[in-house]
Homo-oligomer: 132 residues x 2
């Protein structure tokens, strides 16, 4: 069993993810942390994002388009991506735990969870659409 040693880069990444609400990609994390650690390597960012995810300290999200996104908010919640401007944001809604039961009904293994991403038009793009 290997010991985890402290690193200020990792602390900084964790800190950033806990406070931001922008669901950054690895590259966005890199650009942000570079303000404080101009020499940080993109590899270091990726390694730490993977590490923190394994430790359950952050969550990895898929936006279904490009890069993975990361979230320091561990409260289970759902996300939305705009099909037009690609904006990615939280949704205020209750848990959908019950759909696991629906999925398990005719399934012979074990359903442990699900990932769901909602899509459509964000408020701004929806307005733009109406104006036309």
């Amino acid at each position: 069993m290997t010991v985890t040693k402290f690193s200020k880069q990792r602390e900084s990444i964790k800190e950033y993810l806990i406070h931001t609400k922008e669901h950054p990609t690895a590259d966005m994390v890199y650009l942000n942390i570079r303000q404080k650690f101009p020499n940080i390597s993109l590899g270091t960012v990726y390694r730490n994002l993977n590490f923190l995810e394994e430790q359950g300290e952050i969550v990895r999200l898929k936006d279904g388009i490009g890069s993975d996104r990361f979230d320091g908010n561990l409260e289970p919640h759902y996300h939305f991506v705009c099909r037009k401007c690609k904006k990615f944001c939280d949704l205020e809604m209750n848990s959908l735990e019950h759909i696991n039961t629906l999925a398990a009904a005719n399934f012979h293994g074990r359903i442990e969870g699900h990932t769901t991403l909602f899509y459509g038009l964000c408020e701004e793009c929806f307005e733009d659409e109406r104006k036309k």
Copy 2:
């Protein structure tokens, strides 16, 4: 408006996707079609998969791990991926249309749909787990 011309490569890809149940990746499609067209290019496979998806003749699926997968089954249905052996398969369950309404409740844009992927242990991996 450009005219779509017939191509036997494209017909073969469509044919394959309609009949298989293995939710193949682009590379799996490539390997399969090569049996019939040994000179087909991987670029041709990708171009046609994108084209057929645009035409709504096939569906693109994300398994959340590696490559995209493709399905010739246009009936809306849900999928499952095993976290251990990575097997990807269909689930027999009803539509979850109602969760769009739940998501839209406190949202100010327009929810048009959702993508959901269930995960857990497939039948085989679940059995293996119990034996230990």
